[in-house]
């Protein structure tokens, strides 16, 4: 488990570059988007962070944030994302 004082989410991201983060949201900016939070868990493994989401809800947390602290794709990679599907 991490710190207990809320801090800017961008600051947390800079500290744990290359890892997935689970953050408890504590405040929002003027657009209503997450601004500050408390780091609950971090790992380079996405699945481990998703498992931590489960644990946090079980502990009674009700507003969580997950994100990756780093580039969308590793350096040297390119990505094509589009998905076509119908219901």
């Amino acid at each position: 488990m991490g710190e207990i004082r809320p801090e800017p989410i961008e600051q947390i991201r800079q500290r744990y570059e290359g890892e997935w983060l689970l953050i408890k949201v504590t405040s929002y900016d003027e657009s209503g988007l997450p601004k500050e939070g408390i780091l609950l868990f971090h790992s380079p493994d996405r699945e481990a962070v998703y498992e931590a989401v489960d644990d946090a809800f079980k502990r009674g947390e009700d507003e969580l944030l997950t994100c990756f602290a780093g580039p969308l794709v590793p350096e040297g990679w390119e990505v094509v994302l589009s998905v076509l599907g119908s219901v």
Partner: protein, 147 residues
Amino acid sequence: MFWVRFDPTRPDVRFWARLLSLRGIVWCEMVLDTGSSRTVLDERLLARAGYDLIASPKVTVTTASGRMEAKIVTVRQISALGISADDFPVLAMPLSQPLGIDGLLGLDFLRLRNLFCNFEKGILLTLPFSRNLTHRFALSAQIFAAL
């Protein structure tokens, strides 16, 4: 009007999305993907947020690398870019580990409002559909400020 800045030097345009689930609220990062007909969320995140993927219907989707199977999950509410949709069906698929995102915001979601993107300055606006001429002028004035 919703107004947000993004980093125009990045190769992707990513935004926070707010997902309301049976267990609480999960904020996650999604990439704007106007080439995607459907909104996609990582299936593992949806499962941890309390959605039942086992009982969800399957659908075959086409990606850039071929066909694959996905589940259709109706989320209670998804909000992003000033747009909010209740009981919104999304595709639940695994997103590969090297990708640092939880999902794709596709056209089915983006079509709920007008979208204006200034890629030079890194400004994105979502605006309601114009109702009449006066409203159209008012919306134009808002876009002008972002040019």
